[in-house]
C-alpha cells in the first residue's frame, strides 16, 4: 500500500524542502544589503598608500583616517555616490576597486558578457542545424545583447545621477545661528575655565576658549581643551570646528602628521572650511615639507571666496609653495 504513495510523498518532500530553501534565499535577499555602509564603502575604496588593498583591510594609518572620514561623511548624510566621488576627486579614479561602468572602464564590464555570449553562440553553432537550434542561437544573441545594453544604460544613468561638484554638505554645515550664540567677549579666560570645569560637556565654550588660547600662542592649554572637545557630543558644525582646532593645535604642538589627519577630517566634513584648508596647507608645507600636498589644499582654497586679509595671507603662502615647487622642479630636472 505504501509503495503506491512513495513517489508522491517523495515529490512532496522535495517541494517542501525546495520551498524552505527558496524562502530562506528570498527572505535573506529582501533584507537587502547589510546596513553597514561604512564597511561596504571601505571595501570599495583602495587604501591610497597600499598596493591594491582595500581601506577596510589595511592596517595603515591613512586607511584608518579614511575610514574615520567615511564614518563622519555617512553620519553627515552623504550618499554612497557622493562619498565615492569625493575620494575620486581627491585621489583619482585608481582609488576605486570597482571601476565605474562608464567611459573607458565600461569595456571591463562588457567584455566578459561578450565572451560568454559569443562562446554560447559558438557552442550552439556546433549543433546540427534545425529550426529550434537557430531560434536558440538568436535567443542567446538577444539575451547577450540585452544584458550588455542593460549594463551600458545602468552605467549611463549612474553617471547622470551624479550631483555636480557642490556637495549638499555645505548647506548642512553652513547655516549660521542655529547654535545659541552668546557674547563671550567680556568673559575672562579664568571664568570660562571655571564654567567648563563645572560643565565638562559644554562644547561651544570649550572651543571658544581653545581659540583664545591659540590666538594667544598658548598651544598646550588649547590642546587640553580640543582633545576633550573632539570626543564630546556635538552638532556636525561643532564637531567640524573641534576637529579643525584640534588638528591645528596638534600640529603646533609638534605632531604635524596627526594634525594634518585631523584637519583633513575637518575638511572632509566641510569641504569649504577656509581656515582648515589654510591650516592644512601650512602644516603640509612648513612642518611636513610637502609642497605638492600644500598646493592641493591651496588650489581648493583658491576656488572659494575670501576677504582681502585672507587673500593676502593665502597669497603669501602660495608664493612660498610655488617657489619651493619651482626649485624642486629644476633641481629634479637637472639631476643626472
Amino acid at each position: 500500500m505504501t509503495g503506491r504513495w512513495r513517489p508522491t510523498l517523495r515529490a512532496a518532500l522535495i517541494v517542501i524542502l525546495a520551498g524552505v530553501v527558496i524562502w530562506g534565499i528570498v527572505d535573506g535577499a529582501a533584507r537587502g544589503p547589510s546596513p553597514d555602509r561604512v564597511g561596504r564603502l571601505t571595501r570599495q575604496l583602495r587604501c591610497p598608500v597600499c598596493r591594491g588593498e582595500a581601506v577596510a583591510d589595511s592596517p595603515s594609518s591613512s586607511a584608518r583616517t579614511i575610514e574615520n572620514e567615511i564614518r563622519q561623511q555617512v553620519a553627515a548624510g552623504w550618499t554612497d555616490q557622493q562619498i565615492r566621488d569625493y575620494y575620486v576627486s581627491r585621489f583619482g579614479r585608481s582609488i576605486l576597486l570597482d571601476p565605474p561602468r562608464t567611459g573607458s572602464t565600461l569595456v571591463l564590464w562588457v567584455l566578459p558578457l561578450v565572451v560568454l555570449t559569443g562562446g554560447a553562440i559558438a557552442v550552439l553553432g556546433m549543433l546540427p542545424d534545425g529550426r529550434r537550434r537557430v531560434a536558440w542561437r538568436w535567443t542567446t544573441a538577444g539575451l547577450g545583447a540585452a544584458a550588455t545594453a542593460a549594463l551600458v544604460v545602468a552605467g549611463a544613468t549612474q553617471a547622470g545621477a551624479r550631483p555636480p561638484a557642490a556637495l549638499p554638505l555645505d548647506s548642512v554645515v553652513q547655516p549660521a545661528g542655529t547654535a545659541p550664540t552668546r557674547d563671550l567677549s567680556t568673559v575672562t579666560n579664568a571664568e570660562m575655565e571655571a564654567v567648563i570645569a563645572k560643565n565638562p560637556s559644554v562644547i561651544g565654550m570649550r572651543l571658544a576658549l581653545a581659540t583664545r588660547y591659540l590666538d594667544a600662542g598658548d598651544v598646550a592649554d588649547a590642546l587640553r581643551h580640543t582633545a576633550v572637545a573632539i570626543d564630546l557630543p556635538a552638532t556636525d558644525q561643532e564637531y567640524e570646528r573641534a576637529l579643525r582646532l584640534h588638528g591645528w593645535a596638534s600640529a603646533l604642538n609638534g605632531a604635524p602628521t596627526l594634525g594634518a589627519d585631523y584637519l583633513r577630517a575637518a575638511i572632509a566634513l566641510s569641504p569649504t572650511d577656509r581656515d582648515a584648508l589654510f591650516f592644512l596647507a601650512k602644516v603640509e608645507f612648513e612642518a611636513l615639507h610637502d609642497p605638492h600636498a600644500a598646493k592641493l589644499a591651496l588650489d581648493r582654497l583658491a576656488k572659494l571666496t575670501m576677504d582681502d586679509t585672507q587673500v593676502q595671507v593665502v597669497g603669501q603662502l602660495r608664493a612660498a609653495v610655488d617657489a619651493a615647487l619651482a626649485t624642486a622642479g629644476t633641481s629634479a630636472g637637472s639631476a643626472p
Partner: protein, 663 residues
Amino acid sequence: MTVLAGRVLLGLALLGAACGAWGGVERDERRRMRLLRSGPLLAVSGLLGAFALLEVALFTDNFGVQFVATHHSRSTGALFTFTSAWAGLEGSLLLWATFIAGYLVVVSRTVTVRDRQACTATAVMSGIATFFVGLVLFVAPTFAATPGHVADGFGANPLLQDNLLMAVHPPLLYLGYVGMLVPYAFAVAALIHRERGPRWVLRTQRWAVVAWGFLTAGIVIGGWWSYEVLGWGGYWAWDPVENASFLPWLVATAYLHSAVMQARRGMLPAWSVGLVVSTFLFTLLGTFLARSGVIASVHAFSGSSLGPVLLVFLLIVASATGWLFVSRLGDVITGPRLERLGSREGLFLLNNLLLGTFAAVVAVGTIYPIVHEAISGERLTVGRPFFDVFAVWITLALMLVMLAGVVAPYRRATWSALWSAQRTAVTMGLAVSAALVLVAGLRAPYVIAVVAISTSIVTAALVELWRAAQARLDERGRRVAVGAALRARPGFWGGQLAHVGLAVAAIGIAASSNLAQRSTVTLAPGQTTVASGFTVTYERPTAVTTPSYVARGARITLQRGGTVRTLGPQLRTYPNQREALTSPAVWTRWQGDDAYVAILALDDASVTMHVSRYPWVWLVWAGGLTMAAGAAAGLVLRAWRRRTDEAMLAALGGTEEPVEVLA
C-alpha cells in the same frame, strides 16, 4: 670560486639543453637519439649541481655570492636558509629551470627512435629549457660576485621567512607551472607532424593531471599563508600575481575536461590544443607579470631588467605557436559533431564555456589596468568588487553543470534520466540547506545556495560510488567491490574527489566571506569587551626580540562558549624594513568560527585591534587540498589498475600490453 663553479655548471646545463633542442632537427637517427637522451641528462645534472652549490653557499654564509648577500643573513635559521634559495628572483628562476630539466629528463627516457612525436616534444621542451638556463646565466645571474667585502647579508623579505607554508608554496606552484610544459610540447609536436587523433592527449594526460595537482596545492597553500601571515583577514585578494597563477589553473581545468571528451569521443581536437597552448602561454604571462615589476603588487619584491626579455620570449612563443596552430588548423579541426546539448559532451562544453569566461574575466581585470595606464597615463585599480561579481555567478553555474555532468550519459541525456540519477543527492542538498535555514536561522542567500549545491555534489559522488560497487558486488564482499569499481574508472574517481574538494572549499569560501564579522576595538591593559561574538580581554603588552626581528605584542584572551584561548598578535619590526608588520593571531576552531586578531596600533596606554570572526575558513584549505588529492588519487588508482591488469594477464599467460583506457 663558487661563482665560477656555478657558472660552469650552468654553462654545462645550457649546453645540454641546447643539444636536446638540436636533437629535434638532427636527421641522422643514431645521433638524434644520443642528443635527445644525453642532452637532457647533462642539463639536469648541471642544474642540480648549481642548485646544490647555491645551497652550500647559503649554508656556509658565502656572502661573496651576490644572491647570498642579498637574501641571507647569518641570523637566519637552517630551514629558512634552505628555502631562501627561492626567496629571490635569481634563485626562483634557477629552481624553475631545474624543474623544467627534471620533467624534461623523465620525458626523454620514454623517447624511441621511431616516435617522432616524442622526439619533437623533447626538443621543444629542451628549447624552452635553454631559454630559462640562459636567463639564470646571463640576464638574471644566480651566480654573480658581490662587489666589495660583505660581513653579513640582508636576509630575505621578512614575509617570506616566518612560515613553513611560504617555504613550500613557490616550489609547488613552479612544479605546476612547469608541468604544463609537457602537454604543450606534445601538442606542438603533434601539430608539427600534422598528426590527427588524440594520441598526444592520451600520453600527456598523466602529466597534465600531475601539473594541475601541484598548481592547485600551490595556490591553496599560498592562500592559507596569506591568511595566517598577512593580517588582513583574507586569503585571496585578486592581486595581479595571484590572478597570474589562477589563469593557468582555470584553463588547465578546462583542458582536463576537454581532454576526456577528446579521448573518449574524438571531439573538438582543435579546442584541446588551444587550451593546452593557452595554459602554457598564461604561465609565461604569469612569470612576466610577477617578475617584471610591470604591476605594483604585494608580490613585486623583485623588479629587474628581466621584463623585456621575458616579454619578447612570450611574444615569440605566442606568435610561433599561433602561426603553427593556424597553419595546421585544417588537420586538427575535424572531429565528430556535437549531437545535442543535453549530453555529457554538451555539459563538458558548457563547463569549458564557463571556465573560459571566468578566465576572460580574470585576464581582462588583470591586464586592462596595465594597458589603460600605458595608453592614457591614468592609473586604474580593478579589485575584489569587480572580480567577485563574476566569480560568484560563474562558480554557481559551474557547480550546477558539475552536478548534472557527473551522471549524464554520452550522446543523449534526458531530464528524467538526470533527475532519477541525482534525486537522492538533490534531496540531501536541499534538506541540509533547509535545516540550516530553519534551525540555525541562516539567511545569507549565497551561503544557502552554495550549501545546497555543494551537499548535493558530495552526496552524488557517494551515491555513484555506492551504485558502482553494488553493480560489482559478489561473494568476495563489499570492499573488493568498491576497489574494483574505483579501479575501473581511475580518472573519473580522481575527478570525483576533486569535485568533492571544490564543493567543500566553496562552502568555506561562501561562509567565511558572507558571514564574517569584524570589529575594531581599543583596550587598555586589563580591560574586557565583547567584539565579533568573542569576549576579548587585553591582559598586558609583550615584547620579544629575536635575531631576525623585534616584536611588540599584546597578550589577549578570547572567550567563546566555554573555551578560553590566549593569543599573542604582534607588530614586528625587521631590520631591513621600515614599517612594522602586523602579525595576526588566529584561533582556528574546527567546529566553526575562526577568531582572527590583528593589531592596528599599540602604545603604552592601549592597543587597537581588528577582532574578526570568520566561519568555516578551514574548509577552504581542506577542500583545496582535497582537490589536489583528487589528482593524486587518479594516478594512484591508474597504477593500481595497471598492476592488477598485469597480474591478470600473467595469470592468463598473455603477453599483450595493457591498453590505456580513460575514464
